[in-house]
Symmetry: C2
Subunit: 350 residues, 2 copies
């Protein structure tokens, strides 16, 4: 019998960052697809849409009027899942029915006044303004006494539940630390206590030596397909310097973050020549007033597409009841992403 | 300030079965929806489709010919994610890059020769044949030395990644215990060690007293919307008797399981008058040769729809990076499901 080969044989990989496993089935990518076909989002949009509740000067559902903003714009979500004034309280019946009140804030961040742009079509200086706003919001929200975690994220594309194509992201900030950063805290802390270095610093060191999963680099950030990636073209954007949060980034590091986001999202759009859908977000230290030397700033990108603009990966029966499963290997995906140009396909064909 | 009210105020609920949290935002259900609209699957299908690779007598992609089966039919998945003959092996670099070979089996189960049926349209005796096949397969696969978990599931509807409408489910059986049943083992074992009863027996006792989350009952099974439900109309089907796996069910209990599945899936179809998509599956004891007195047989149903046949819940940015979040309360969903008739809408309008 042949020796075990992770490019060919089914195997499980361990996510060192959150402690969970993913099943990898490299041989399965040949399976024919007769299921649901996705419809890519429309390519052409006006620079200003009078019916868009995020465009400058427009009126929102609750009657508020947006300023005629020229860079970024942030406001409290009109339909926030978290509210600041939740009365405290809890339920506990025999440890089996347990609930507790949760308070927090939901914010919406418009990346640009232009309705027709997305991050990969914006300039690096304009993305830098988004980075600065993320830092300002992290500081403002994270220093509130009842906010112990600040989750900054973007849902891009209708396929990812985004209901408005105007380039925007969200912040959900709350009293408790959500599950995913809580799991990452456990893993990072255990590693830090054992080694005195952050888990991601050492992981990055290994990946930079091997190169096979690295997609792009600049002076301050590296984008790679993590060894344990779940989504077909999932990536991890890691700071070279082990900082705990975005406010600690120096000006040139903020520029570098904007550069890395721009170059990655251009590659994504170029993969299938469409505006590439994903959910993405920053993971940073909890804002619980503790030191978190174990925390290492990073950003996750979770795109749903698998083979083409119209065929996605479904995380369904086995994945919901068992554990996540992927068909193509992370190494294959990294290779695909690495081979793509960093000139946006729309600019290239003009 | 008003007292905490879980029907109104944002809160977190603890999933006693897997140890995770879900954020509940009851006030948020009023949010307008301008995002992606789903297309319900076609209602009319022929009883036999010459192009279907699951219909009796047809030839599959690999050249195999299906028997002219008259009840159920099971075969090895032609594109299985798990393979029996994987060579053993592992990767471990500094604990950061960890992988191990995985072996197993993928099986496909046709529920009926009829291409045009789904579980809610089948008779209870015909669903009972599916239950018997599940039991036979659990026994046959679970007693193989290298199979330590047998995951039986169904993806129903194109929205759940199902590529063929012919009524069928799958089995993925493998060497290791996947994440979800592993988490449920931890929680159930801790409870059993402390109380000498299964967690689900005690949880069921509480729910049967309260009634507010119970959807339907028969002599041997109860279907309820669990206190910690993540998906809008998620349900949990629980055996009244704490059995570890489906092979332990007496004949009348197997009939009752078929009855509960039929009645639940009819209610699901009647909710929005469509063939209701979901992923569902049995959770049972690991087949690792250990006693598992803590394990209590149950079945999860995870349907994606939220408000109508065309508006689904997206588990995206916050959910992927933070933790699952739901808008309507489990109690509201249970009430909706309870109010529906158990005559299928197609039969009712004929
Ligand atoms: O095996 P199928 O039906 O082709 O595939 C479907 O179910 C599998 C198991 O949940 C998933 O891994 C696939 O993403 C999904 O499309
Ligand atoms: O807040 P939005 O953009 O209306 O809604 C979207 O993102 C949220 C946060 O990930 C999700 O809870 C919703 O299901 C999704 O549709």
């Amino acid at each position: 019998m042949a020796a075990f080969d992770s490019t060919e044989h089914p195997h499980r990989r361990f996510n060192a960052l959150n402690g969970e496993w993913v099943l990898v089935s490299p041989h399965r990518s040949k399976r024919p697809w007769q299921g649901q076909q996705e419809t890519p989002d429309a390519e052409q949009r006006p620079a200003y849409d009078p019916g868009c509740y995020l465009c400058p000067g427009n009126t929102r559902a609750n009657g508020a009027v947006n300023p005629t903003y020229t860079n970024t714009f942030v406001f409290d979500n009109d339909f926030a899942a978290l509210l600041p004034d939740t009365p405290a309280g809890f339920i506990d019946e025999s440890g089996l029915l347990r609930a507790e009140a949760e308070s927090g804030v939901g914010r919406v961040i418009c990346f640009s006044p232009r309705h027709d742009l997305t991050l990969p079509e914006m300039s690096t200086p304009d993305i830098r303004k988004v980075v600065d706003l993320w830092a300002d919001e992290f500081l403002a929200l994270g220093t509130q006494p009842d906010i112990n975690y600040v989750q900054i994220f973007e849902n891009k594309g209708t396929m990812m539940g985004c209901s408005n194509p105007h380039p925007h992201g969200q912040i959900w900030a709350q009293r408790t630390v959500p599950s995913e950063p809580a799991k990452e805290t456990v893993q990072q802390l255990a590693y830090y206590q054992q080694h005195g270095r952050t888990l991601l610093a050492d992981y990055l060191g290994i990946e930079l030596e091997k190169k096979e999963r690295v997609v792009l680099e600049n002076d301050h950030f590296v984008v790679l397909v993590p060894f344990w990636a779940v989504w077909p073209f999932e990536t991890l954007l890691v700071a070279r310097r082990p900082v705990q949060d975005i406010t600690q980034l120096a000006p040139e590091e903020r520029d570098a973050l904007a550069d890395a986001i721009r170059r990655l999202t251009i590659r994504y759009d170029n993969l299938f020549n469409i505006s590439f859908p994903y959910s993405a977000g920053l993971h940073q230290r909890p804002t619980d007033g503790q030191e978190h030397p174990e925390w290492h700033l990073h950003m996750h990108f979770y795109p749903p597409l698998l083979r083409s603009a119209t065929v996605r990966k479904f995380m369904v029966g086995y994945e919901m009841l068992g554990n996540p499963q992927r068909d193509i290997t992370p190494e294959f995906s990294a290779d695909r992403l690495r081979s793509l140009p960093e000139v946006h396909y729309k600019a290239a064909t003009q």
